[in-house]
Structures are given as C-alpha cells and as structure tokens.
C-alpha cells in the first residue's frame, strides 16, 4: 500500500471517524428505539401466552437476541481482526477492543436470562446443556481476549496480539461448539425441553425479529460510543483530542457569557 495512504489510515482516521460517529449516534439511537418499543410491546403484551410455558416464555425476547448477538459480535470481531492484521488498520483494532466487552455482556445476559428461564421450565438454574456450555465457553473466550489486551502496556502490540487471539478463537469456536454438542449427547440423556418445537407462531416470531433488529442497533450504538471513548483515551495527548477539548471549553465559555 502507498505509504501516504497507510499513514493516513494509521493516524488520520480518528479525525473523520470521531465526528462522523458523533453524528451517527442520534440516528442509531432512533432506529434502536424504533424497533425496541414495538418489539417490547408486542412481545410483552400482544403475543399470546405459550400453551405450555405460560407467560414465562416472554423472557425469550431478551434471551434469544442476546445469544444471537453474542455470536454475531464475535464474527464481526473476527472480520475486523483480519482487516487489522492484513492492512494494519488501526480503527479495526479499536473496533475489536470496543466490541469485546459488548459481546461478553451479551453472552452474560444470555446466560443469566437462560438461568431465569430455566428455573421454572427445567426446575434448575443451570443444566450442562450443549448450548449453555458453549455460550459459557464463548464468554470465557471474550474475557481471555480482554485480559490479554489489558496485560499489554503498549496498545499497538496489544491490538495485534488481540487480533491474533480473535482469529485463533474463530477457527476454534465451531470445533468447540460441535465437540460440546457431541459430549452432551454422549454423557446425558437428551434434556427434554419445551422449546424444541418445530415451529414458532407468527405472533411470537414478529416481536422476536423486531427485538433481534433492535439488539443489532443497540450493538452499533454502544460500539460507536465505546469506540469514541477508546479513541479519546488512547490519543489523549495528540493534537486532535486537544482541539476537541478546546472547542468544548470555548463553547461552554460562550454559554456562560
């Protein structure tokens, strides 16, 4: 790659990314609420109660999107890791480290809501079911990446090491998932779940899809906020951050006057 372009991506990107992300945030928030409010209303009010599980199935509208997102975030991170390692794009590294806590939170939410759902349905907070176990392993992989990043003082090295580990993880995740499924079928009688119905009623499906879309915008929203925060934190001594602070101060002084 041309050295100037490379330099631009390394150093220049925050200059346009920071204000652009600032402009996008209100729009993404609006889209998030646009899907969240009808999704929650339909999910909690208009969707019919399940004939077996009664009202408690409604936790699905948080549980399932969170579980989907925990995986989607990882794949987004893996793509960013390739970009970071091949083209040395710094913004991709920022994107990964900003995504890790979000993905870990989604995995944790999926596990906690799963426990709350499991207690009335299975009679236990936790069962060593294949999906639960691989979700837990995914959470640990997220936490491992976070621990590795935080262990480095130099954030440039940290970004590279983290990208490599993310890629190692994406190769291993399918292997881990299928071996856990295999382990589960071998060691346990299949857990009887009320959820394994072949189809889901359309009135229940629509709020689920709305919530899943809302969660995607939620991820985007938190990601933009986190990326901005991480950029400011890392570049605290560089010119463009100082300029932003000065502009803010000027604005406040004017307001006082």
């Amino acid at each position: 790659m041309n050295i100037i372009i490379k330099w631009y991506y390394r150093l220049g990107a925050p200059l346009w990314f920071y204000p652009l992300a600032g402009k996008l945030i209100p729009w993404v928030t609006a889209l998030f609420l646009l899907f969240l409010i009808p999704g929650l209303y339909m999910g909690l009010v208009t969707a019919p109660a399940d004939y077996q599980q009664g009202e408690s199935f409604r936790i699905m509208y948080v549980h399932v999107p969170a579980a989907w997102m925990s995986m989607l975030v990882y794949f987004a991170m893996a793509i960013a890791a390739v970009v970071a390692l091949v083209w040395r794009v710094r913004m991709a590294e920022i994107m990964i480290i900003s995504s890790v806590p979000i993905g870990a939170s989604f995995a944790l939410i999926a596990l906690l809501t799963g426990a709350f759902w499991g207690k009335p349905m299975w009679g236990a907070w936790w069962v060593w079911d294949a999906r639960l176990t691989s979700e837990l392993i995914l959470l640990f992989i997220y936490l491992g990446i976070l621990a590795l990043y935080n262990a480095f003082e130099d954030k440039k090295t940290a970004g590279k090491a983290m990208s490599i580990l993310t890629l190692v993880g994406v190769v291993n995740l399918p292997i881990i998932h299928y071996s856990v499924v295999w382990w589960n079928t071998l060691h346990q009688a299949a857990t009887v779940t009320a959820f394994d119905k072949p189809s889901i009623h359309i009135d229940m499906l629509i709020p689920l899809l709305l919530m899943a879309t809302a969660f995607k915008f939620l991820f985007l929203l938190v990601l933009l906020l986190k990326m901005r925060a991480n950029l400011i934190e890392q570049d605290i001594h560089s010119g463009w951050v100082k300029k932003i602070i000065q502009d803010k101060q000027k604005l406040e002084e004017n307001n006082h006057v």
């Binding site: 640990f140 491992g144 590795l148 262990a151 480095f152 580990l165 890629l167 292997i175």
Partner: protein
C-alpha cells in the same frame, strides 16, 4: 530441514544437561492425581469411574504449566530476535521448539500415566487407549498452548494469563481424549473418538505453528 534438526538436537541436549527440570511436570502430574482420592473419596468404584477424566485433566494441567518458559529464555537473551531477522522461517523455529518441548515433557508423562491409571483402578483394557489418546492429545495441547505462550512472551507477569487464554481451546481435546478412555473402560471401541482426536491433531500441528510464529513476531517487535 537441516536447521530444523539442529534446533531439535540443541533443545534435546540442553534438556538432557538440565535433567532435573524435566521431572518437575511429572511430579506435578502425580501430585494432582494424588489430590483427587484425598479430596473426593478413596472408594475404588468411584475412582475407576472418574479415572479417565481425572488423568486427562492432570495431564492437561501439567502440559499447560510446563509451557510457561517455552520461549522466555530465547526472548530474554535475544535468540528469538536473531531468528526473526535471519533468513530462516520463524515457523520452523516454532515447530522445532514445540516438538522438542513435547518430547521432553510429555513423553515421560505418557510413559508414567499407566502407573497412575492402575493406582486409580482404571480397567487394564483401557490402558492401551489411554496411551494412544495421550499420544495424539498431548502434542495438540503443546501446540495450542504454544500460541498462548507466544502471545504472552513479551509480558513481565503472565503466569495467570496463559490459562485464561488457552483453557477454552483445550476443551475439545479434553472431551475426545477423556471420552475415548471412558468408552474403552466400559468395554466399547474407542476408535471414533481416536479418529476425531487424530483429525484435531493434524489440524493443530499444521495450523498452530503459523499462529505461534505470527505471535512471536508481535512479541519481538514490541
């Protein structure tokens, strides 16, 4: 190829001269196994039931902990840096180092494992499968663990970090390794598990050195 053999020979000679160290992970392996009858129960029936998983977990922990100083000395005295700037590939360096490390620490462990298996009253029919599963599994543990070690080599304090990075990726190996022995102890054929383990073995020893070499490059350029 020549440099590769030289590297392995150098590592083996060095290990032979400092023989004491190679025993450390063996002693650790024995101690971990000793903890289970004391902590859980010395009942023969229970022990023979949990023996496959127990031996595998002990082998896994012993392998992982032995990895800690895999590249540390070479990193500190600059050998690694010389390798990185020389015309030789870091991949073959990583491969040779991982392989000789496996020979030094895991082979004695595999030789001694049947003794511990007998002390836990694992059925004698399962011992052959135990050895084969360890032969296929421990190189994988070394090679996957090598990625974690290479990533943390440049760090000053990394002792708690390595298990966090590596253990999630050890899970498939543990599942198939322990299950192969478990199935053999119940008198069934363990070939399915061993085939999958062999597949993972091939995947691990071909792909992991690339990740190790890239991570080493990152650690050196720090």
């Amino acid at each position: 190829m020549n440099t590769f053999l030289t590297l392995i020979k150098r590592d083996l000679v060095l290990a032979y001269r400092g023989r004491g160290e190679a025993f450390n992970s063996l002693i650790f392996f024995g101690l971990v196994i000793l903890l289970f009858p004391i902590g859980i129960s010395a009942s023969e029936k229970l022990l023979s039931e949990i023996a496959p998983g127990l031996i595998w977990i002990a082998a896994l922990l012993a392998t992982m902990l032995s990895l800690d100083n895999l590249f540390k000395e070479d990193f500190q005295d600059g050998t690694l840096e010389q390798w990185a700037v020389s015309q030789h590939s870091l991949i073959s360096f990583a491969w040779a180092r991982l392989f000789s490390h496996w020979v030094i620490t895991s082979v004695p462990l595999i030789i001694i494992a049947p003794l511990f298996a007998l002390s836990l009253s694992l059925p004698t029919d399962a011992i052959g499968v135990l050895i084969v599963s360890l032969l296929l599994g421990t190189p994988l543990l070394t090679f996957i663990g090598g990625i974690g070690v290479a990533l943390t080599t440049g760090l000053k304090k990394s002792s708690m970090l390595l298990p966090l990075l590596v253990l999630p990726f050890y899970i498939p190996v543990l599942i198939f390794g322990a299950s192969a022995v478990d199935v053999a102890a119940d008198g069934w054929s363990a070939s399915g598990q061993l085939y999958i383990l062999a597949g993972l073995f091939v995947l691990g020893i071909t792909l992991a050195p690339f990740a190790v070499a890239t991570s080493l490059k990152v650690s050196v350029s720090q």
